[in-house]
């Protein structure tokens, strides 16, 4: 990604036609910035890079995130994605033919719609001339969709890109066993009755035992919950701390829902069922109730339970990303700038869920910011234990020095700025769709509270991603 950006950067100095145009626009843009009175009190500086286009998120939506096995259970992934796309069209009124490209992230692929972005786009009425592709990168798949969009726009290949993500965990591809598949494929090729019979004679009853999609990491054969439990133990995170954090997430989500802050949610009329308009996984409980649960992964002494983990979720999200100049020219009031981002990866065994710890200091350094500059943190909550372990890791000089090659710790984010509208623990975590939810929550929180910088971070099966957003350098961005 960075290579694309640098490449563009070099190209920009060339006086190609569009580069000229772009730099002119850039000028106009920055002049607007200068001309703008400092409406916000704490506007610090711009994160814009010289000779690079400013990229903005115009708006983003998601259908309600539902517990798996509830209202969406009879649908297919592209149905959810289509609903999100329709919602986006409705919300932004973007003319379909303006969209240059569509990218979706997903994790567990429905084999019938392996390029789910394209299937959903066609169904949602986008032009069949608009290319679409699907990306996958564990829990940061839609982050990958967004940053791919950023790359396409920054390099001048596109002006308007729709990025999103979808996951339907009510249904997963359960396959025939390899032996059965092999026999069926061989049967296809068998020409004579004799060949067929001899193939069939090799059939054994155990061929019929199905092959479930792996819940475990391929490289380590460990499930994520198991790894989270070990991670929590490694950082000495207690069961009580985890339950308390989970309770906080549910309470905050409930509050945000009641106050109507979750404005990215668009209602979805489920075919044959009622219209769904609210996330249904938010269930504030009590510490006493939560303490009764048995550990879900490491039994009997583990600390990760169903109540302090994110649950299996169905959902989809989509957002409209544009070059700032294009957005302004079309009369939009963008929600935020998409600025620096970074991807990291680490040991898939013992640091499976430590992505935010590694990514946060790097992305801050890239942008020249510190933790205290950030007004809104939106981190993906895979497990309470994972979030708290990341906090402890970020707050440990020892860890920074011994594992991250840094001189000092970056510090853990202040809780009063952290996931204030709930998180994946309470809102749900449809793998492929979470990234866009995080970015929209961050942008909306900045708008609501008048903050300037937001930091989004997520862990992803031994990887991680962090993204900087900023608002009121966004000239032309309207009031929240």
């Amino acid at each position: 990604m960075t290579s694309i950006l640098t490449y563009t950067f070099k190209n920009l100095s060339a006086t190609s036609k569009w580069a000229l145009r772009s730099s002119v626009r850039h000028l106009s843009c920055s002049s607007q910035l200068q001309a703008a009175p400092a409406a916000q009190t704490k506007s610090k500086k711009t994160l814009a890079k010289p000779n690079l286009r400013n990229i903005v998120v115009v708006d983003g939506v998601r259908i309600p995130f539902l517990l798996s096995g509830t209202s969406y259970k009879d649908l297919m992934p592209h149905d959810l994605a289509r609903a999100a796309l329709s919602g986006l069209l409705h919300r932004t009124n973007v003319p379909k033919d303006v969209v240059d490209y569509i990218i979706f992230g997903t994790v567990i692929q429905e084999v019938k719609t392996s390029n789910v972005a394209r299937e959903a786009a066609l169904g949602a009425g986008f032009s069949d001339k608009t290319p679409a592709h699907t990306v996958t990168m564990a829990c940061i798949s839609s982050n990958q969709a967004m940053t791919t969009a950023v790359g396409l726009i920054a390099s001048g290949q596109c002006d308007v890109v729709v990025a999103g993500g979808v996951e339907l965990m009510s249904d997963v591809p359960i396959r025939h066993s390899r032996q059965m598949r092999k026999m069926m494929l061989d049967l296809n090729k068998a020409k004579t009755l004799g060949q067929r019979l001899s193939l069939l004679s090799k059939f054994r009853l155990n061929f019929l035992s199905p092959e479930l999609p792996a819940v475990a990491e391929f490289s380590t054969s460990e499930t994520m919950g198991h790894s989270a439990d070990r991670l929590a133990a490694a950082f000495a995170v207690s069961r009580l701390e985890q339950d308390e954090y989970a309770l906080r997430s549910h309470n905050l989500a409930k509050k945000a829902q009641e106050e109507g802050l979750l404005s990215d949610v668009v209602p979805f009329k489920v075919p044959g069922k009622d219209t769904v308009s609210k996330d249904n996984g938010i269930r504030p409980s009590s510490l006493e109730q939560m303490a009764k649960l048995k550990p879900a992964f490491i039994k009997p002494h583990g600390t990760v339970t169903a109540a302090n983990s994110s649950f299996l979720t169905d959902g989809a999200s989509a957002m409209l990303i544009m070059a700032e100049d294009k957005a302004l020219a079309m009369g939009y009031k963008p929600k935020a700038y998409l600025r620096d981002f970074i991807y990291v990866s680490q040991d898939p065994k013992d640091q499976l869920l430590l992505g935010p710890t590694y990514a946060t200091p790097k992305v801050l350094e890239k942008a020249g910011l510190t933790m205290s500059d950030i007004d809104a943190f939106e981190f993906h909550e895979a497990f309470s234990g994972q979030i708290l372990a990341n906090f402890k890791a970020m707050d440990s000089d020892w860890f920074a020095q011994n594992y991250m090659g840094r001189k000092t710790k970056v510090g853990s984010p202040p809780l009063e700025k952290f996931n204030m509208w709930g998180g994946s623990l309470s809102l749900g975590h449809p793998f492929g769709a979470t990234g866009c939810r995080l970015v929209m929550a961050a942008a909306n929180r900045l708008r609501k509270d008048g903050g300037q910088y937001a930091l989004v971070a997520a862990c992803a099966a031994g990887g991680g991603h962090a993204f900087n957003l900023s608002t009121h350098e966004a000239k032309g961005g309207g009031s929240p």
């Binding site: 391929f218 054969s221 070990r230 133990a233 490694a234 950082f235 000495a236 020892w398 860890f399």
Partner: protein, 763 residues
């Protein structure tokens, strides 16, 4: 029970305790509890749980020596006496080791069976008290839990172990010619069932934690932790302790049941074991199997069966009594002394006595992807060494690559590796046909055909491409290294590394240094060998070095015996009956008849009469007929793919008939045949020490046992001379010398030992 209470109440008197405790100078009062600082064992109290920590100072492992035992008893007595304490956790502060076993030196210092029996009884008494503890005791195991350590653990009420590769449980006493003498023979059968207990005690195998859980040997697994607020090992131990404490509390509160859910198979087995007839059948089958495998040469396995039987049939008291008595008897046997000697030798040969090499070998190159080359590559890549494997043909190279892959994949099948680890290890192997990348190599090991001119050719080629510091090692079984080094521009960087086939199974590496080899080169070669997991002997250069040189006269005698009309099968039975793991004729087939021919011709030229006996003609004719041994499918035996049974190669009859020599009846009894083979081996080994090829007898014993299969129950040629008596060996040699001549003439060093019975190779 009564005893423990009594001692417990004695312990309550504080002053008394201080007087009794040796080596305890300072007392350490902390907020949580009054701590008495002991040398090996400490304990603290967390809530109502006592945490007893084993940590022997200045040692990588904890062993149960006399001091540890007495400190442990002290501590436990205090715990039993303290009303505030309701349960206890036993844990080691050393990440890689819980308790590695009893102290071998403690045993070695015993001079009579009675002394050893007393040691066993002390252990039994200690563990009996632990077993009958009214306060639940939880063993929290991380790292090796072996021998006495496991006996300690199974005397506790509950066991929790870390699920990692370092944590292994086992009773390896049988490998030292002993039996588990602190209650192990009595408790294990009750805990894991008779068949599994026999398997553990008779093989001495290490059992990984997850397997141990399935067997019922431990009750709970704890996963190892990654990096967190502390280094992983440290935090994992801490976590283990935290978990163990919650279990100890649960046990004290009777919230956790000690009953284990048994599977259906287990229930059936344990039911079957209640039928006397079934038990008798099991004893019988196991005993037959043991007799067949040990040929009656190892007393320990039979005694183990005996002791288990006594316990099960006549009750605990008789069982424990039998255990301690048989333990005492075994400790005094020659076999046990020999095996313990090997253990010590092995420890010695796992050290680098040549210092730290200036440059760590990170990039290795192996020339020749044959059986040896690929084997060397395999044991290198799986230790993380980037290895270039070069051959001259695509076919040869891919055969070698497949061998490495198969070796790794077999480990996956045995669950010793995951398929992911296999792939990542295999990516360390780079197969190629040219010298690309050799400019980065730190060491090149050649395993090309055993021909001096070819070795010279590759040496020159390699020296043209490798960097200044790179070491050239030759894997040869007989070609003198100084001859190979003769064409080198920098002979100080040339060394011999003689691996044994199959490389991934055979533990020995014989490193050969010439006059010119630098010390740093040797240090580097030893370091690489140790990394590859080898037991290493370092010998001086000379025809056949040490191992091949000892093997050659023995094989020469074997040929002679065959020529005298002894059937190869009979010969195999005789040699395995003496303790060789592989029969002599089979050994020739395994080594390769062509290799044997090469070696015996070369060494015959170098040593003349002393290597006489059989004629090389026998080997030559076999080679000319294509009977190269296992690799060609035919040798003395016929080998068939997939079949373990081998039949005699009847085509050999005519060859043997044409070379037949008259047998000498006075030296052709079964015993004489055995001793003819063995004494020639031993004589040559002693001569190697006399000539300075070998630096120490210990290396000679390790080389002979681990490289050539010299009977382990004899402990190696030098131990054999010590235990059997040098005079007796000389007498035998003189007897055969009288019949056959010079090849049996005892060497001077052996004669010296015979003349002075106080002279021993091992003092």
């Amino acid at each position: 029970m009564v005893a423990s209470r009594a001692i417990g109440s004695l312990g309550r008197s504080h002053a008394f305790r201080i007087f009794r405790c040796r080596g305890c100078i300072c007392r350490n009062f902390t907020a949580s509890s009054a701590l008495l600082t002991r040398t090996h064992i400490n304990y603290g109290v967390k809530g109502d749980v006592a945490v007893v920590r084993f940590n022997s100072p200045n040692s990588k492992v904890n062993t149960l020596n006399k001091e540890v035992q007495s400190e442990f008893l002290d501590v436990m007595n205090e715990i039993w006496a303290n009303d505030q304490i309701r349960s206890a956790v036993l844990i080691s502060s050393k990440p890689g080791c819980f308790v590695a076993g009893a102290d071998i030196n403690m045993l070695a210092s015993c001079t009579t069976p009675q002394e050893a029996t007393r040691l066993s009884q002390n252990g039994q008494r200690m563990f009996e008290k632990l077993e009958k503890s009214t306060k639940p005791v939880v063993a929290a195991i991380s790292g090796s839990c072996l021998g006495g350590g496991l006996e300690l653990a199974i005397s506790c009420q509950y066991r929790i172990a870390i699920k990692d590769r370092k944590t292994v449980l086992g009773v390896p006493e049988v490998l030292l010619g002993l039996l588990p003498g602190a209650g192990g023979t009595q408790r294990l059968p009750k805990m894991v069932g008779v068949p599994a207990a026999f398997d553990m005690m008779l093989t001495g195998r290490n059992i990984r934690a997850d397997r141990a859980k399935k067997m019922g040997l431990i009750d709970q697994l704890v996963d190892p932790l990654g990096p967190g607020i502390k280094p992983p090992e440290e935090r994992t131990i801490e976590y283990l302790e935290e978990v163990a404490i919650t279990f100890a509390k649960g046990l004290a509160d009777k919230k956790i049941s000690l009953k284990r859910n048994k599977g259906l198979m287990e229930k059936l087995t344990s039911y079957a074991m209640t039928i006397p007839f079934v038990r008798q059948q099991i004893y019988k089958t196991v005993e037959e199997k043991v007799r067949k495998q040990t040929k009656g040469l190892y007393p320990a396995p039979l005694k183990i069966i005996d002791v288990v039987k006594t316990g099960l049939e006549q009750g605990d008291d008789s069982g424990y009594l039998a255990e301690s008595q048989k333990f005492g008897e075994l400790a005094m046997t020659r076999e046990s002394k020999a095996l313990m000697g090997l253990y010590h030798g092995q420890v010695l040969c796992k050290k680098n006595n040549f210092g730290v090499p200036q440059k760590n070998v990170k990039h290795l190159a192996v020339l020749g992807a044959g059986l040896m080359g690929a084997g060397i590559a395999q044991v290198s890549v799986d230790k993380g060494l980037t290895t270039l494997l070069k051959d001259t043909t695509v076919a040869g190279l891919s055969r070698g690559q497949q061998q490495v892959f198969k070796g790794l994949n077999d480990k996956v099948k045995k669950k010793a590796l995951t398929s992911f680890e296999r792939d990542s290890i295999f990516s360390n192997l780079i197969g190629q046909l040219d010298y690309q990348g050799f400019e980065k190599a730190d060491m090149v090991i050649e395993a090309v055909f055993e021909d001096l001119s070819i070795k010279h050719k590759v040496l020159k080629e390699v020296e043209a491409v490798i960097p200044e510091h790179c070491i050239f090692a030759s894997n040869t079984s007989a070609l003198p290294i100084n001859q190979i080094a003769a064409v080198s521009k920098r002979p100080e960087k040339v060394i011999g590394m003689h691996y044994f086939s199959p490389v991934d199974k055979m533990q020995l590496l014989e490193i050969i240094t010439t006059e010119k080899t630098s010390k740093d080169t040797t240090a580097s070669a030893v370091a690489v060998g140790l990394k590859q997991g080898k037991v290493i002997i370092v010998v001086k250069d000379g025809p056949g070095f040490y191992t091949t040189r000892c093997l050659a006269p023995m094989m020469s005698e074997v040929m002679r015996i065959l020529q005298e009309g002894v059937n190869p099968k009979k010969l195999d039975t005789l040699t395995t009956g003496f303790g060789f793991p592989v029969g002599a004729a089979t050994l020739a087939d395994e080594v390769g008849v062509d290799v044997a021919q090469h070696v015996s011709e070369d060494l015959g030229k170098a040593f003349g009469d002393r290597f006489g006996g059989g004629t090389v003609e026998l080997l030559k004719q076999m080679v000319s007929k294509g009977f190269l041994g296992r690799k060609s499918g035919k040798g003395f035996y016929i080998y068939q793919e997939g079949s373990k049974n081998k039949s005699l190669n009847s085509d050999m009859d005519s060859i043997l008939a044409s070379l037949k020599l008259p047998a000498k009846p006075e030296v052709s009894s079964d015993e004489d045949i055995q001793y003819r083979v063995v004494t020639r081996f031993v004589n040559e080994a002693v001569l190697c020490l006399q000539e300075g090829i070998l630096a120490t007898p210990a290396e000679g014993d390790i080389g002979a046992v681990f490289g050539l299969g010299f009977p382990p129950c004899l402990g190696g040629p030098f131990r054999f001379v010590d235990l059997f008596g040098a005079q007796k060996v000389v007498d035998r040699l003189r007897k055969y010398e009288a019949v056959y001549g010079k090849q049996f003439t005892p060497c001077q060093l052996l004669l010296d030992h015979a003349n002075n019975s106080s002279k021993k190779f091992y003092q």
